[in-house]
Amino acid sequence: MTAAPTLSVRIREIEPLGASLKRFALEPAHGGELPTPAPGAHILLTLRDGGRVMKNAYSLVSPAAARDRYEIIVRRVAQSRGGSAFLHQQAREGDVIDIGYPVNLFPLQAKARKHLLIGGGIGITPLLSHLHLLKARGLKFEMHQLCAPEEAGVFEALLAPYGEAGEILVHGTGRARFDLAGILARQPLGTHVYTCGPRTLMEAVATTASALGWPAGKIHKESFGENSGGLPFKAMLARSGIEVEVGETQSLLEAVEAAGIDAPCLCRGGACGECKVSVLEGEVEHRDDFLSAEEKASQGAIMLCVSRARGARLVLDL
């Protein structure tokens, strides 16, 4: 797909929620309304610390009805790549930052007859946006939140507004005493389970549910998606006689366009086949749905819009 449009927001409020959690409220920097946030969606924040640029994804926790602000909750992570530490230490109310459009890879399922939510630690965040909707629509749900004993109070407070609408339990005693199989086994037909948290928890939910006969289509794990970018590389355009640099978060097509070359394209998502270009040298990491397996193996062509170099350089007939 094309790069999503960018939104400029101002940090309106920073609220500490616990020892390592802070809630940030973001408002449109130039007035107006933000795009309707989807329950389960995340946004990509672009954070600039001097010359260093960090991109971090955070789930939106504010309700879909609120278009005047987005809210995220950020945990300061010890082994942070820098984004969460930056937000905790350096970000100030009034700062303006760029965010991407909301992307939703963790939606609620419209046909579910019951929604079972299982969160671990900060994995509560997308589930909070689900809870807003479930409560507002009067839908049937059950929520289990696992956490360290010292944080149980923080999560109980976050979940308090939804307690009357459905069954909510905070398990501050760790995984050992949490009867995951028992909970999954007693769910009525038509239940969907949604889980977000540490990888081990999400895997435990998925494998336990599968073993109990849950179909894959009713087990949902939060994911911020495959990174559409990848390692930077160079593409030599043989016919034009120029070399373009393809950045980490940029597609080859975007890099070619930025260099002023009018490349063929249509769908910009690896489906239509319009941007197929012959490869003269180099190995391609194919990410499209257009080329056949044989064509991909022969390494004779690349779809500019989604695929990348596997090595440092490609030479293209363009």
């Binding site: 046909k111 579910a112 007859r113 999954l184 086994a185 007693r186 769910q187 009525p188 037909l189 038509g190 239940t191 549910a209 599968s210 109990l212 006969g213 849950w214 179909p215 894959a216 289509g217 009713k218």
Partner: protein
């Protein structure tokens, strides 16, 4: 049978257990599971089986037990469907629902399962017995049952309907379209295709 190349027409596989399921309920509109419809190695004892005997004097039995290997009979397909709705409403995740029989029966079962929250991944159907079709007239919405010919007179509006391979799982029926709509009276001879 002809193939009009339309992809909505269901394809069926011989009946086989889905090992991912936790319990397995098989419904058939006959007294026994048709032996020609099952895959090699099929073991009826792994299923709870519901059958239809078409007898009003059949004594009633509890529908709530779910032990594999039990066989429970019903007086008619409608009797079975009514019990199935009740049963599915009490079921927990992990159930797999199977049906073997004529096409209209299969997709009526699908409708009951779907209403109870089952997804296509939790249901398996195998066609057995008559290939007669249920036809939904796209012009008047009347349903014509047990159609075995390529062209049939609509039971509702009387149009000569071409039996199209386009199939609606929701309606459990194929589409009927007036064959002489453009040139009234120009009706080709009907062929016996779905006996």
């Amino acid at each position: 049978m002809t193939d009009q190349g339309i992809k909505s027409r269901p394809r069926y596989q011989p009946l086989e257990i889905d090992p991912a399921g936790r319990h397995h309920l098989l419904v058939v509109p006959s007294e026994d599971v048709p032996s020609d419809a099952v895959a090699e190695g099929f073991a009826p004892s792994a299923f709870e089986v519901w059958t239809v005997v078409r007898k009003s004097a059949l004594p009633p039995s509890a529908i709530t037990e779910e032990a594999a290997g039990t066989v429970r009979a019903f007086r008619s397909p409608a009797h079975l469907f009514s019990a199935l709705e009740e049963r599915l409403a009490r079921e927990t995740m992990g159930l797999r629902l199977y049906a073997v029989g004529p096409e209209d029966f299969l997709w009526d079962v699908y409708g009951v399962g779907e209403k109870a929250g089952l997804s296509p991944q939790e249901m398996r159907f195998t066609h057995s017995g008559t290939k007669a079709r249920r036809i939904f007239c796209v012009h008047c919405r009347a349903v014509t049952e047990k159609v075995t010919t390529s062209i049939v007179t609509c039971s509702g509006c009387g149009a000569s309907l071409f039996v199209r391979d386009h199939f609606s799982r929701r309606l459990s029926a194929f589409m009927g379209v007036q064959v002489d709509a453009e040139a009234p009276g120009d009706v080709p001879a009907a062929e016996e295709l779905y006996a």
